[in-house]
Amino acid sequence: MINFSTNARRFCFAAVTCLTMLPLSAAPSQAAAKIQHLISPGGIEAWFVQDATVPLIAMEYAFGGGATQDPADKAGVGNLVADTLDEGSGDLDSSTFHERLDRRAIELSFASTRDYFRGSLRMLKDNRDEAFDLLRMSLTSPHFDSADVERIRSQVISGLRRDTTNPSALAGRKFLETAFGDHPYGRQAAGTLESVARIDIADLKDYVRRVLARDTLKIAVVGDIDPATLGQLLDKTFGGLPAKASLTPVPDVEAAKPPQRAFVPLDVPQTVVMFGGPGFMRNDPNFMAAYVANHILGGGGLSSRLYHEVREKRGLAYSVSESLLWADHSALFIGNTGTRADRAGETVEAINREIRKMAEEGPTQQELDEAKSYLKGSQMLSLDTSSKLASALLQYQNDRLPIDYIEKRNAIVDAVTLDDVRKASQRLWGQGLLTVIVGRAPQAAAQPAAATPPPTAKN
């Protein structure tokens, strides 16, 4: 699956349901001990780990708001801003800006996610002044020249056109619409063919003015730099931004109540199924119990219940998994799989059976013990690169976790009881599923949901 392609860039463009996907794992204890709460002379805060093993610096940062700040009829503004900020700023045109980045192999990118406007910056340590200066220019004086905007718009539209026949993209889009309706979470960060066509340059400038401000900014830095130098660079880079964002308030929202089922016809050999329902907010006192429950039912690795029942025993799918997703104003669990068109009904039924069983009986003591063991042991694994560690430190800040969360986490995992997980399972899966099916075979898919059993239950 990994390609040795020199073009590969990291970041999330699976995009279908990018609420918050970072696994809940924590840093190794030695890294945890080294996390500094840095406050620059100008008052800009960052979580910071100084590490000189590799001569590079990785920074992840986020402004509040993200795609929720797109005007209702212009979904995709933040995304178009993200794709265009590096197309010329200050006294540099697009070509010169890219030349300056490329000449020093500086990696700079932006992304509009549901609640946050995110940015990544990675550089070899010798190029740090240039890297931070280019970032400063792109944040504080972007050009949005018409030729550049149109070029990037054509790329976004090309991607959206592709999505119209991509079963996974269609399923993700339909799922969020079903779950959130007219709430901003029901929209895609990239927008739609219609909404992206409507966006003006003034909309881009307005978005930058409203969203890129210091009061919602969170920063995480890992790498070969000392705190004093970093503090100065942060001041230079972000100090020129407005002090306060002016964000449109976003209401909290509960995902639609299951069971519901939607079918999107598409002539593909493999039917794509997306399923889910209301989840747990990150600050819910039972969040960890739900996290453990989800791991047992459909978490990663080769031994979740869904993996055994759908893939290993029946050979119905290559991929089947489920995750908890949490955002600032709502939470979901969401799963997906792909299965032969003529066995889609059987697959959906197998998933529903497992979910019901988990809701009714909860896990076994052994499953609970093994899940805890996994969650504790996996702490350090997801944080073994500077970029991964920086991403996690940013995530903890966005999740309003304390800076010593990593040290507290094992105790939180240990405190989860079998009864907690049973209750969480009941709450997650007791109502059934929101299900979106994309593919052929409407006869297998378009049946009403489990609550009202179809007259003929067999295919």
Partner: protein
């Protein structure tokens, strides 16, 4: 600019298949470390090569075993067998029944996966450092101890067919790539897809898998890469106690000799039409030398050429097709040097609505002609070299990426010295070498051009399944 397009037109032929889909980000791969100490390397008495790459930042270790067998080593008629066996390697042994290995990895908080490509098949676990010996015991045990039963094999074949559906059948661009590769390789098995042809995958069985396993899985046909918080001396002891106990198979030839391509004589084109195509694409694949088959300096020149032509917003193709004349929404070039036999240089472009392929190809051809005639500007050459060499430093940040880099190179005919010296070889590439590489290798006679177009004829009715 958006990275969506770059990924969409990425070189699909280098796809390595995994046993479970994994959502990990794609690391920027570089070809070697630059400032770090060289990895330790030694060979056990039974022929297993071991490479140890220390990284002491986190108490984590990656174990990766690479078998020198891939889809290009399959018997004709059994396409997909290397990948099918990769899946079946998780079905247990006499000592450790099905599920035990994977459950152990999970219980200790680790993760695991496996992958198959044309030239190799690999398996890895990432675990806390103190678990390494246990992982090695499991991995050594399944090198020869696999037990297969139909009750495990047959559902897994359905899983692989679903993987095929997901990756290929549902994806018109992947189907085009299959056709281009089949047309590019007239004689060499790289023309067969790694995942196999559907009609052959569905006939693969337990006996096929076991025969393939017995033929190719042995310590003298593998490379073990250990990256992480370990020292070479302790790894050697552990490796001797586990892998060292497995008997070699002297019958496995040291060199893999496959049917080679005749000198290409005619440009070919293929067109794949599908009603679901919403963004037409043109891809041109040239048959070119790999790092293992190239003359000295030639492979590095091709790396530089690919980056110059298609790496980023100031690359020649992107500028010509996307920025200067708005003919395409994206344009890329790529060269995959790590390949045992001659590989591909790929150019890809996605025309804007209303733009004909011929207009796009005309620009591509003129860019190629220009690069083949005139020496590259010094500042362009410098920029591209910096980017390539920087990748090598960025790769040091990621032990799994490093392990993959070493394993991939060592199983496609390269040495540790080749990997280590890659930045120096990039640095040494001259403008004239780049010009010569373009002139010699980007010759249309060596190429297949593939067109992905929308099928507008409303056809109904389906075959199989």
């Amino acid at each position: 600019m958006t990275s969506r397009l770059r990924i969409a037109v990425r070189i699909a032929s280098t796809l390595a298949l995994t046993v479970v889909p994994h959502l990990a980000s794609r690391p920027a791969m570089a070809q070697t470390t630059v400032t770090s100490d060289p990895p330790a390397s030694f060979t056990l008495g039974n022929g297993l090569q071991v490479v140890v790459i220390p990284d002491h930042r986190t108490p984590v270790v990656t174990e990766m075993i690479w078998y020198k067998v891939g889809s290009a080593d399959e018997t004709p008629g059994k396409s997909g067998l290397a990948h099918f066996l990769e899946h079946l390697m998780f079905k247990g042994t006499a000592k450790h029944p099905v599920g035990e290995f994977s459950q152990t990895v999970l219980r200790i908080g680790g993760n695991e996966n496996a992958f198959t490509s044309f030239d190799y098949t690999g398996y890895f676990q990432r675990v806390p450092r103190e678990q390494l010996a246990r992982m090695m015991e499991f991995e050594a045990d399944r090198m020869t101890g696999l037990i297969l039963k139909d009750e495990n094999v047959l559902p897994e074949r359905d899983v692989v067919l679903e993987e095929y559906n997901m990756r290929v059948a549902n994806n018109p661009e992947a189907r085009l790539t299959e056709q281009i590769m089949a047309a590019l390789y007239l004689n060499h098995p790289y023309g067969r897809p790694v995942i196999g042809w559907h009609h052959e995958i569905e006939k693969l069985g337990r006996e096929d898998a076991l025969a393939f396993y017995r033929r190719f899985y042995a310590p003298n046909n593998a490379t073990l890469v250990i990256a992480g918080d370990v020292e070479a001396a302790e790894v050697r002891t552990m490796a001797e106690q586990s892998f060292g106990q497995v008997a070699p198979q002297p019958a496995i030839p040291a060199q893999r000799i496959r049917p080679q391509e005749p000198e290409p004589v005619a440009p070919r084109t293929v067109t794949l039409a599908d009603p679901k195509v919403e963004q037409p694409t043109v891809k041109r694949y040239y048959l070119v030398p790999s790092a293992a088959t190239a003359a000295p300096a030639e492979s590095a020149a091709l790396d530089v050429l690919a980056q110059l032509m298609g790496g980023g917003s100031n690359s020649y193709l992107y500028r010509a097709l996307v920025v200067d004349k708005p003919l395409a929404v994206g344009a890329t070039a790529g060269y995959q040097g790590t390949s045992l036999d001659p590989t591909q240089f790929v150019i890809s472009a996605a025309p804007r609505p209303g733009v004909e392929f011929s207009q796009v190809e005309q620009v591509i051809d003129s860019v190629i002609a220009d690069v083949g005639k005139n020496p590259v500007h010094a500042e362009d050459l410098e920029r591209v070299k910096t980017q390539l060499i920087a990748e090598a430093i960025y790769a040091q940040d990621n032990q799994e990426a490093l392990a993959r880099w070493y394993g991939g190179a060592l199983t496609t005919g390269l040495s540790i010295a080749d990997i280590r010296s890659w930045p120096d070889r990039i640095r040494a590439v001259t403008a004239d070498q780049v010009r010569a590489a373009a002139q010699q290798w980007l010759d249309k006679k060596r190429s297949v051009t593939g067109y992905l177009i929308k099928d507008t004829a409303a056809k109904r009715e389906e075959k199989r399944s």
